[in-house]
């Protein structure tokens, strides 16, 4: 009698548990659907999962690797979207971007969602309903001539500046490099230094030349009998002056070459040219032909050298407003005087 009572109590307890789960499963709903059930081969559609559940339940979405089923491929898995329906219910959504490359009809099976209450250790599952997806190929009208065509190449998107910029920069860098190499080769062939260092005297050429000529005058070389030396250093001073003043490599040129240089370039006035010619010609005779010039000729050479430097020196014009005003005043006074006269 006692055993029967215990059996009845156990039966009632089990029934109560079952009834309570059934009650919970009725508030949890799952749904699987697709955008369309009929697609063309390679078309991309979304597989939607919708789950409604109470707050105090944990429900797990089904897990997939690369495919939903064989030949139905997953392209992208989107995040779960949660919407609160009311205080007790949540709506969870998850989408999968899927495609298929084989024609046919595919059954998408039931997907099982495992759930359990937060207050309970027991769990149960709930399933979606299965459905079908039809994948069809392109209809080809074989009667038409161009019915079967080659696979089309990917459509080329227009190139943007950002895409082209690295290539443009590379091309410019290569062009600059090639030009640099050509420049270096040419310089090397001509035996010129890569970077020309022109050492310009800090002082103006005429200042240096006049100072050197003063020194020669002071030393009185020809008066002491050093006539050849006198003419050599006078011509050296002039050559250095020509080099600094006119950028002519006079130290490496003969007298005739220096004269020709000025004849062709018209850099000098006739008077200065004649003076230079006199100095160089006389010096050549003294230096190379043992000529002993007259006293006047020595003096003339030195004086001509002074005159040549003074006449050909570079004149820098500086604006002087005060001087201009003075000049203007003088001109007015002169005009007044003219009127009085």
């Amino acid at each position: 009698m006692m055993n029967r009572k215990i059996e009845r109590i156990l039966l009632v307890f089990i029934l109560l548990i079952f009834v309570s789960f059934r009650g919970f499963s009725q508030s949890i709903t799952v749904k699987a659907s697709v955008d369309t059930n009929l697609i063309l081969i390679g078309d991309q559609i979304k597989l939607h999962f919708e789950l409604t559940q109470p707050n105090n339940f944990q429900v797990n979405f089904p897990n997939f690797n690369d495919t939903i089923i064989d030949k139905i491929e997953i392209l992208e898995r989107l995040n779960i979207d949660t919407v609160i329906v009311n205080n007790n219910l949540l709506l969870l959504k998850q989408d999968y971007l899927i495609t298929c490359f084989d024609s046919g009809i595919y059954e998408i099976p039931e997907f099982k969602f495992a759930f359990k209450s937060n207050n309970d250790t027991l769990s149960d599952t709930i399933s979606t309903r299965s459905f079908y997806i039809g994948v069809q190929t392109m209809k080809i009208d074989t009667a038409q001539a161009n019915a079967i065509a080659d696979i089309k190449l990917p459509i080329e998107a227009p190139i943007t500046i950002n895409e082209a910029l690295p290539y443009i920069l590379y091309a410019l860098a290569i062009i600059v490099f090639v030009l640099l190499v050509i420049y270096l080769i040419r310089k090397r062939k001509k035996h010129e230094p890569i970077l020309k260092k022109k050492i310009k005297p800090k002082e103006p050429a005429n200042v240096i030349a006049l100072r050197d000529l003063d020194k020669i005058k002071h030393e009185k070389y020809w008066q002491k009998g050093k006539v050849k030396y006198f003419h050599s250093i006078v011509t050296d001073v002039l050559r250095t002056y020509i080099e600094n003043r006119f950028d002519i490599n006079a130290m490496e040129k003969t007298s005739q070459e220096i004269i020709s240089e000025f004849t062709n370039s018209n850099l000098l006035e006739k008077k200065s040219f004649e003076k230079l010619k006199q100095i160089l010609s006389l010096a050549d005779f003294v230096k190379f032909a043992k000529l002993n010039p007259l006293i006047d000729e020595n003096e003339a050479s030195l004086n001509n050298a002074y005159e040549f430097v003074n006449k050909t020196k570079k004149v820098v014009e500086i604006d002087n407003p005060e001087k201009d005003k003075e000049n203007e005043k003088t001109e007015i006074i002169n005009d007044k005087n003219k009127k009085v006269v």
């Binding site: 090397r188 062939k189 035996h191 050599s232 490599n249 130290m251 490496e252 040129k253 003969t254 007298s255 005739q256 070459e257 050549d284 005779f285 230096k287 190379f288 032909a289 043992k290 000529l291 002993n292 010039p293 007259l294 000729e297």
Partner: protein
């Protein structure tokens, strides 16, 4: 101007002795059109007792110029065409056995003359070239046991063709050095070429007349040697030659790897001699730097050895000489 006695006298002597220069030029110009530099170089060689190597493509009147010069001077002239089968004996002579006298007698070769034209010298093998070059240097020839002095003036003018190098025997550097001048001849100008055509289509080709004797040349050579050369000019010559040997010392370091060997002391001697002859031709009793620069290329171009690097970079001895002249300070 109070000119010192020596130079004044020398100038007068030169004015007197060099009068034939104009005549030679006139006679040469009768036959040779243009090629002023060639004529001038031949005169320099003639007056400074130096042998000349002429280089130019065929048809530039190399041979004609030399034979015309020998026509102008009343002296003996031989033309030897150098060929691969030529033997030294064909050049200097040999011993021939006389059956009648029952002894060997000397048969002198064509080298026993005043002017030798060695045409296409690089076509003969080295032993023939050596025989000629030895005679050029020593001015004597040994046949058997006998040594014979060569006649004075003795001048060798050799020609060589810069193209068609196949089957030739290039002259070794040591032997090229024995030529005082190496003259490179270029094509004539348009106007000159027109005259050449007209001249060659005439019935009779112009011929130079003899206006000089061998003794005149020997006398002129003495005057040439007396032309005054100042110490400054000597220093200039030495600087130029040293710049080809030690380019680093003359701010020419870019040529350090290009030059395998520079000018020899013979280059300095010949530069001085040629400059003196050039001054003489220009009726001057003293040498000026212009004279050195005028003859420098002809004297030095065959005396500067180029490295493989220079050849690879197409650097010629001409460019090196020009750069040396533009770098060494003129006195």
């Amino acid at each position: 101007m109070n000119e010192t006695v020596n130079i004044k006298e020398l100038n007068e002597r030169i004015q007197k002795e060099s009068s034939f220069v104009d005549m030679i030029n006139i006679e040469m110009n009768k036959v040779i059109v243009g090629q002023k530099h060639l004529t001038e170089s031949l005169l320099i060689g003639l007056l400074s007792d130096g042998h000349i190597l002429l280089e130019g493509v065929p048809g530039l009147a190399k041979t004609l110029a030399i034979s015309t010069l020998s026509d102008i001077i009343d002296a003996k002239f031989s033309r030897i065409q150098f060929t691969p089968d030529l033997l030294p004996a064909d050049l200097i002579g040999t011993m021939i056995y006389s059956q009648k006298k029952e002894e060997f007698t000397v048969k002198k070769g064509p080298i026993f003359t005043n002017f030798v034209l060695a045409d296409e010298i690089n076509r003969a093998p080295a032993k023939v070239q050596s025989a000629l070059l030895e005679a050029m240097q020593e001015k004597q020839v040994t046949i058997g046991d006998n040594t014979f002095k060569l006649e004075r003036p003795f001048l060798v003018m050799a020609t060589q063709n810069p193209i068609e190098q196949e089957g030739t025997y290039p002259l070794p550097e040591a032997q090229v050095d024995r030529f005082m001048l190496k003259v490179v001849i270029d094509y004539p100008k348009k106007e000159e070429e027109k005259v050449i055509i007209r001249q060659n289509l005439m019935e009779t080709f112009p011929k130079a007349t003899k206006i000089l004797k061998a003794e005149d040349i020997i006398r002129a050579r003495k005057v040439v040697r007396d032309v005054y050369m100042d110490e400054k000019i000597e220093k200039y010559i030495v600087d130029i030659v040293f710049a080809t040997r030690y380019p680093d010392d003359y701010n020419l370091s870019q040529f350090k790897e290009m030059i395998s060997y520079g000018g020899s002391p013979r280059a300095s001697i010949n530069l001085a001699l040629a400059a003196k002859a050039y001054a003489f031709i220009n009726r001057r009793g003293y040498v000026i730097p212009e004279d050195i620069r005028a003859v420098c290329h002809d004297v030095l171009r065959h005396r500067i050895g180029l490295t493989y690097q220079a050849e690879a970079e197409n650097i010629t001895s001409e460019e090196i000489i020009s750069q040396v002249l533009n770098t060494v300070e003129v006195p």
